[in-house]
Symmetry: C2
Subunit: 580 residues, 2 copies
């Protein structure tokens, strides 16, 4: 019941749909990735994900991690999975070739990330956060620091962490108070950080902490934050491991989910650290990774949703219960229309979410060489993160629901995905933060220009898509609604300063469902092309059905989110505090 099979065919379909449409060869970095090569890569990743990593998932949840005297103990199988993963060279896929990476575009490595996260979500945080640390070091650290640390991080000998949050400084980093005092060519870092994923463990030789802290003369607020590299074990001159740095994990959190992931409270006491980038530019350094990390969470959302979906499908095909109108004998519950509705809801949403993640990642890849793609990548990111993570809640909840009473029993495993998923709308910026980022910085801050371009592009693509006329009409109505809502916000946010904040959630969800409709139309078009050009008609017909189902069942929500926005902020802001 608890097996996981990466949906390589679906991943390939999604990737080709996204990358292919933009004339693949013209995109620097994509020339070498033909279908056959990618299939080989993904099949190989699929094997390690399903055979080696996935079997560690259940014990990871059931037994979880624990801490004693600053040492973190991890569940059985974690070390073997980690060794197999780094021995296979998987962490290096999209890293810098100068330091041992393979230099693939991020969109090419995204399916591998999805597999790893679906296989064991808790475990996967270790390799994926290390990847974020690698990007930060690669983009901002001095040549000397890169030379000392990057190769070890990329190879997986060292792992990395991100130390942002403090108890009083969650979404609001301006009041952070960890300090960094200059001391020769390094700094002494002192402070406490919370929610540090894999802040301590012994799976790798060393842990490289990236820590936000304040210099003594730093300005107040977010403009006075700098970024430091703080190794768990200091390096000797000859690069061998030296003495232990003065930092430690003081506890691990007891969480709703991701029990197999060490979420640490870290204490730094004059720990030796090295400045990354310019003084007081720490937040900017972090922000270069923000798009990545946020799309990463969207990809996680697809991954957990897919894992939960697979378990629900297996259960629905096995569990015999009740009869249907057309059968005299008892049937597997997949034959009950409402169970089918739940399965198709999951399948349809997951397929759309996956394309959205790849699309956004592809725009980031393009942006590296073609700056005109930066705005598009930036606009899509909060939509992708918020929408995919919110839907992930619904999907993992539906998967549990399909199991009935058994879903509520922990041994079944459905509850784990539901609990694990719950973090995705919270970390790397809550849904509220994404919503504010979209409506404030990306939409109003841009005077609606990039949004307008996106909506026009969607309109043009729908016009040229190979879908039936009723669907075109529904999609055009949805686009029209989104345009009206956009104009309404741009026209009214100055008179009604609470309008953006009060409608931000509805706005990001509306845009998510609309972009989903665009993707559904593209999927249908690509699937019809596939039907004509290949003999895999079952697969392509299924894609047409699941994407059509999206347009029928979920596109209508564009209109209801839009209606909600058009009511303005009055009711919301007029409730006095004491009446809550």
């Amino acid at each position: 019941m608890d097996r996981y099979h990466p949906p390589v065919k679906d991943m390939m379909f999604a990737l080709r749909e996204v990358v292919g449409k933009k004339d693949l060869e013209s995109n620097p970095g994509f020339e070498d990735f033909d279908r056959e090569f990618l299939e080989t890569v993904y099949d190989s990743a699929s094997e390690i994900a399903s055979e080696i990593i996935a079997p560690t998932n259940k014990d990871g949840d059931r037994i979880g991690v624990s801490i004693k005297d600053g040492e973190v103990t991890v569940p059985k199988g974690y070390a073997e999975a980690f060794d197999a993963y780094i021995d296979g060279g998987w962490p290096t896929l999209s890293c810098n070739p100068e330091y041992g990476g393979q230099g693939m575009p991020a969109s090419i490595s995204m399916p591998v990330n999805e597999m790893v996260m679906a296989a064991n979500f808790s475990w996967a945080h270790l390799v994926l956060l290390t990847n974020s640390a690698i990007r930060a070091v690669d983009a901002h650290a001095s040549e000397e620091l890169k030379d000392l640390y990057l190769e070890k991080l990329i190879s997986g000998k060292f792992t990395g962490t991100m130390n942002l949050t403090e108890p009083q400084a969650g979404s609001d980093l301006s009041v952070m108070n960890t300090v960094a005092v200059p001391n020769g060519d390094c700094y002494k870092i002192t402070g406490q950080k919370i929610f540090i994923t894999w802040g301590e463990h012994s799976l790798s030789e060393n842990i490289i902490h990236l820590v936000l802290a304040r210099l003594p003369d730093a300005p107040d607020g977010v403009k006075g934050i700098s970024l430091f590299l703080v190794p768990k074990i200091k390096l000797n001159e000859d690069r061998t491991l030296g003495e232990r740095n003065t930092l430690k994990a003081v506890s691990v959190e007891h969480k709703l989910g991701i029990h197999g992931c060490a979420t640490c409270v870290m204490s730094f006491e004059e720990a030796e650290g090295f400045l990354i980038g310019e003084p007081n530019q720490g937040l900017a350094c972090m922000f270069t990774m923000m798009n990545d990390a946020r799309i990463g969470v969207a990809c996680e959302s697809v991954a957990i949703a897919e894992r939960a979906y697979q378990q629900a499908v297996n259960y629905a095909k096995d569990r015999i219960q009740g009869k249907t109108q057309s059968s005299e004998s008892r049937v597997a519950i997949i034959n009950h229309p409402d169970v089918r509705r739940m399965l198709l809801t999951m399948k349809s949403l997951i397929e759309i979410m996956r394309v959205m993640v790849y699309e956004n990642t592809f725009e980031c890849d393009l942006a590296e060489s073609q700056p005109e793609h930066i705005k598009r990548a930036d606009l899509l990111t909060p939509i992708t993160k918020a929408w995919c993570s919110e839907l992930c809640q619904d999907i993992t909840s539906i998967a549990l629901q399909i199991h009935g009473g058994m879903g509520y029993v922990e041994e079944t495993g459905a509850a784990q995905h539901f609990r694990d998923a719950r973090i995705t709308t919270i970390y790397e910026g809550t849904t509220g933060i994404q919503a504010n980022d979209l409506i404030g910085r990306k939409f109003i801050g841009d005077n609606g220009s990039e949004m307008n371009d996106l909506l026009n592009e969607i309109e043009t693509e729908i016009e040229g898509s190979d879908i039936d006329i009723e669907m075109k009409t529904e999609l055009n109505q949805a686009i029209h609604r989104a345009k009206n809502v956009s104009s309404f916000i741009l026209e009214n946010f100055q008179k009604d300063p609470n309008l953006p904040g009060s409608s931000s959630y509805n706005f990001v969800m509306m845009m998510g469902y609309l972009v989903g409709g665009w993707i559904a139309a593209r999927n249908i078009t690509a699937a019809k092309k596939g039907l004509r050009e290949s003999d895999d008609s079952e697969f392509y017909n299924a894609k047409i059905i699941s994407s059509s189902y999206y347009i029928e069942q979920f596109l209508p929500l564009v209109s209801s989110f839009g209606s909600s926005i058009m009511h303005g902020s009055e009711s919301m802001m007029s409730m006095p505090d004491e009446q809550f």
Copy 2:
């Protein structure tokens, strides 16, 4: 942070809004319940709920129940809370006066149920399932059995359980195979039952199990099921406790939530039992309680939602984070518009849900003496159960979200409500079962007649309600949409036999949001009356705001659920099994 204050004022508003509008005094059984008396009752219940029961909630979750050699251990404080509750006479409120009950209408006791469930949801299952058992015995057992057991059950000396489910027989009871063999004036019951809430414990002197089983000559399927009363400890001739019956709890489930509730696997080995009602009429006996139990789960949903809401409000008022457009200094997060949106969403939905529960219960009360109310009560029940329990998922999830990263840490307490709530869409009939009951038995089976009456009544009441013209227009559009959808289903279910099953979920949710809109309009009308007639303008103004917010934000969903239904069942049913 983990305190609970029953919202007595909101409960009174909801109850008066429901009961008052139908000319209170003309309803048999309601003559004695004036405002002052009810306030005294509820304030007194409020004290025991908040002071004695609520403090046991967190340990109930953290420590939970355990079993060893068939004995169940419960968390500290459970016994004291139970004793205080029965000593206060609270279980007797709506029970039969012939056996020591106080004979109040169920709608009068519903606010007390809500308080108890919000105070400690796991613990409350014990007293509320006992209440269900009492109703079954009272309605169907022989005078002799009633005489032996009812007074003890009502007084709380004995507690009761419902034994329906077996591993192979969940939602489909037809394949149940526990057997009952006649043996003199009693029966020998043999079989295994699962998911038996409070199947074992030592809080009461005795446990009375109501067990569904088959007689040796019983017909196949649900027409061959009989109901038996099976005491844990047999009674001597003089009614004192005698020897232990041959039944035991063999394990307790390890569940996602309600850790403080003993969900047992029960084993019966030729246990002595007594027939309740006629042979082979067991399911009918159970069904007389079904409305009750389902509305009970809806009430639970209100209760957990309210508890989660109160915790979120407290957190939002305490947690300082970030600035707003209008403030220079850092503010409590309740000042951020998106946090306010979440709080108002919770408040607004909970208030509507509460009225829906009372409305449905009141129709059941009326149905006892006025049979013309039976159809209305039956029509509302699946809507109330499905809609309230589904919204409870959203509300407890939002409450967790408001806590940000802290919400994901178990110690905060928000996660408990989220986990506890997850059972409500599953037990006493899943949302899918409710949806099928509504569209099949209650709507199509009735040829839409009672639904039509309800929609017309809503239309008339909206016309006469004291709300502004835009709201009337929106509500009328929603009614119009519901009427169209209803006609569409009635016209097409014969040509498209999968239409009811495939649209049942959308139908029950659409009806939930529409009935919610009706209630919102009634709340506004009642609040405006309250504004004119009393000086509590803050309270009534807040009611107007929260109900208006419902109409603005959630009524648009009637249209989108309707659109989804009008697309028919084709996409859904055409997906081949192997493509899932």
